[in-house]
Symmetry: C2
């Protein structure tokens, strides 16, 4: 007999043990069958990277309330590709969810984020996909206030899907009470002071990547950064097609002789 | 006395020893001062990943015709960030070039590509940035036919720059004679059969990521895939702002209560 329940594939970039992942499982378990395949350790900043040259392994780590939690030694994108190929059997997920990420993925963080890697990979496979992230990097971030929004968006995506090539990047501020929900664009922002030089006891320099983010359009009220700093849940519809169509039009007049 | 020559920062994802990188240095050396910082080994498929938790090192590997070639143990994006912070002194590059990549970065490959990681990182720092790639994975690919186009585009970008937040993804077919240049959008395409399961002598399964690409809109004549299969140099203007504005408009009517 065919299983009519939706299948939800979950991954993240903080690793299979992360509280954000466990919280997500608790929140969306009622919507269908869950399958979890997440990195064996933290893979923050892994973007859409996949492992072109590393042999990958899958390990069934545990069952949380009947949900299989697999780990993989690769990237967040590897987790999605492997789950689709090796763990879903003849089923295909109805929804891919990345998160809940410890730390925001607004503005250009969207490009670096492994959580968005999960979501983009689902989207590139034409599966409705969403990333959830909270503006709190701590291991024990409180995810409970997010639950009604995570459930609402999950239900909506299972009911209505998304157009091909579009996924959602959802970021939550840390506030007493959310101001509401804003559908918004990605802010233009930059990371600076990204490198700290250190000196090794064996007498060579090495470097840590860190950095400080600046919102380069602080006046704009239609961005994810604005929404988050004003207490709103920020939802940014995100496209796989990164063609700049305005520039494409301008370039028609370029002379390539 | 101030140095008035342009500074061109070069990186790639095939590693500092790659023929494509050496060829690029030869082609654009006449346009200004070059600085090369590239991964110490191949980093294909590294996307916009950066190293959030790994200590990074820089090594001056050699000088090719006066050009310093540095290697880094991190990702292509790390190379750009470290070069900007540690190797440029008080100068700022006038142009960032990724490549020349051994293998094409058209369609969704743009998201996985470390070469495009270099270019996106330059673009996110508001520096005019371009990626060059050839549809040939072999170590000894013949880059000479690309030279007039690489020079033309480099000169144009040094003379005129690019709007903030837009970079160029340039792909070259392997043909006797190029049909011309097409400014085109990213094709919608998918990777399938991406996982090969193998069995280890110690009795466990492991997996290699491979795959076959399919152009999902083979009839469309305005895509990078079409241009490449018809012998054209394909130039796709690529945006950092991945907001889907059409979806954003549609979502204004969503009910989030």
């Amino acid at each position: 007999m065919e299983n009519k329940k939706p299948l939800i594939l979950i991954s993240n970039d903080d690793g299979y043990h992360a509280k954000g992942l466990r919280s997500l499982i608790d929140m969306v378990g009622g919507f269908g069958d869950l399958l979890v395949c997440a990195p064996e350790a933290a893979r923050s900043g892994f973007s859409c990277a996949f492992s072109a040259t590393t042999p990958l392994r899958l390990k069934l780590r545990r069952k949380w309330e009947g949900v299989e939690v697999w780990s993989c030694n690769g990237t967040p994108v590897d987790c999605v590709k492997l789950a689709l190929s090796e763990l879903c059997g003849d089923r295909r997920p109805d929804l891919v969810i990345g998160g809940i990420n410890h730390g925001d993925n607004a503005s250009v963080n969207s490009h670096y984020s492994g959580t968005m890697g999960v979501t983009m990979e689902g989207c590139m496979k034409y599966i409705p996909s969403v990333a959830f992230s909270i503006c709190d990097h701590s291991d024990d971030a409180d995810f409970r206030p997010l639950e009604p929004f995570v459930k609402m968006i999950t239900k909506k995506l299972l009911d209505e899907g998304l157009p091909k090539g579009v996924c959602l990047n959802v970021n939550f501020p840390v506030v007493e009470r959310f101001s509401g929900v804003k559908v918004c664009r990605m802010a233009r922002g930059t990371w600076g002071n990204e490198v700290v030089r250190c000196h090794h006891p064996r007498d060579y320099d090495y470097f840590w990547m860190v950095g400080e983010y600046t919102n380069d359009e602080p006046e704009a009220t239609d961005t994810d950064n604005w929404a988050l700093t004003h207490g709103y849940v920020a939802i940014t519809p995100t496209t796989v097609d990164v063609t700049d169509y305005e520039m494409l039009r301008q370039m028609q007049s370029w002379d390539f002789e």
